[in-house]
Amino acid sequence: MVNVIWILFILIGLVIAVFNGKVAEVTQAALDNAKYAVELCFGLIGVYALWLGLMRVAEEAGLVNKISKKMQGMMRFLFTDVPARHPAIGAMTMNIIANMLGLGNAATPLGIKAMKELQDLNPHKEEATDAMCMFLIINTSSVQLIPTTVVALRSAAGSSNPTEIIGTAFIATVCSTMAGIIAAKVLQRYY
């Protein structure tokens, strides 16, 4: 699916560019974005190293298991095909907690670690398991307690109450996450 969308983005973009007379702009955008993506990745190395380092400490100290236990009931409901004591549960729990706190940069390396653990359980290495699908659906619907970026932007734009949308965003995020979980539970029977 990502494959199809990716091709469509590029092909539609190229065709429309010819009709709009924006071939030069498209060339520039392609080159600039390729360069920017690399810069972004190199910028990520430090953050990844920091959080994976902290995660290792937390892991060796048994902190992950400790926090995981409190969310065990919910995690078992969400990820029925992952054994309760598997390291994937710990990594996914930490990722979800980091997402809830709005620590986007912290959540990503934790999430990738979780995916690697889930891949160990996967009998078909190129096809996503139910647990992987559920994990990413929860991730993309973002159970966020504090939308830090939005609050910062609102404040910069001169809002009289930058944090007033925390409540509305929380209600909306709960709705979207519930919808995502229900959709995943239903769709996993048919795919």
Binding site: A37, A106, A128, M132, L136, T149, V151, T168
Partner: protein, 178 residues
């Protein structure tokens, strides 16, 4: 309440670091060595992600620079008006699942044009704060482990996004009024 939220958001990261290090030390972990050992994975993880990043950024850049994004907005707007979604936030709604960085830019532009405390500004804030990038997240996470068949993940994620959008409009209308 807002103050508590401010305190939580500014202290979350330092508190996390503090708790992990203190807890690790108390449990007898050689904190420094185990940190360095874990940090080694940082480089390989970032490098593995790089080609996926380039692929997505180039595709989106071409789509946007060609004017295709503008055409897409004009096609979808009759449908979203039926749902009560202000047409002015459409570029954000379209960009949100695709790119976090680009949608942040669009949100800032919406604030500049309509003001952060307008109905449009509040709905845009709520949408931005309650949804996540879908394509980026899926390509990074599935890409990192080499998954090619993603099954129903994209559809369920898009459905959640649409529910979040409608909930944002409804909740903002109730809480702030139009």
């Amino acid at each position: 309440m807002a103050n508590i939220m401010d305190i939580i958001s500014s202290f979350a990261i330092p508190a996390f670091i503090f708790i992990v290090l203190v807890y690790g030390h108390l449990k007898g972990v050689n904190v420094y060595e185990s940190f360095v050992e874990g940090a080694k994975e940082g480089f390989t993880t970032a490098v593995k992600v790089l080609p996926y990043m380039v692929a997505m950024f180039v595709a989106i850049g071409i789509f946007r620079a060609s004017g295709s994004m503008g055409i897409l907005v004009s096609f979808i707007s009759p449908v979203t008006e039926l749902l009560g979604v202000p047409a002015q936030i459409l570029p954000l709604v379209i960009m949100r699942p695709i790119s976090g960085i680009a949608s942040t830019g669009i949100l800032a532009e919406i604030f500049k044009v309509y003001g952060p405390d307008s109905f449009i500004g509040r709905v845009a804030s709520t949408v931005m704060g309650s949804t996540e990038t879908i394509f980026y997240t899926l390509s990074i996470y599935f890409g990192a482990v080499g998954i090619k068949k993603i099954r129903y993940t994209l559809w369920a994620a898009l459905l959640a996004e649409i529910v979040g959008l409608i909930a944002s409009v409804v909740v903002c209308t109730i809480v702030f009024g139009r």
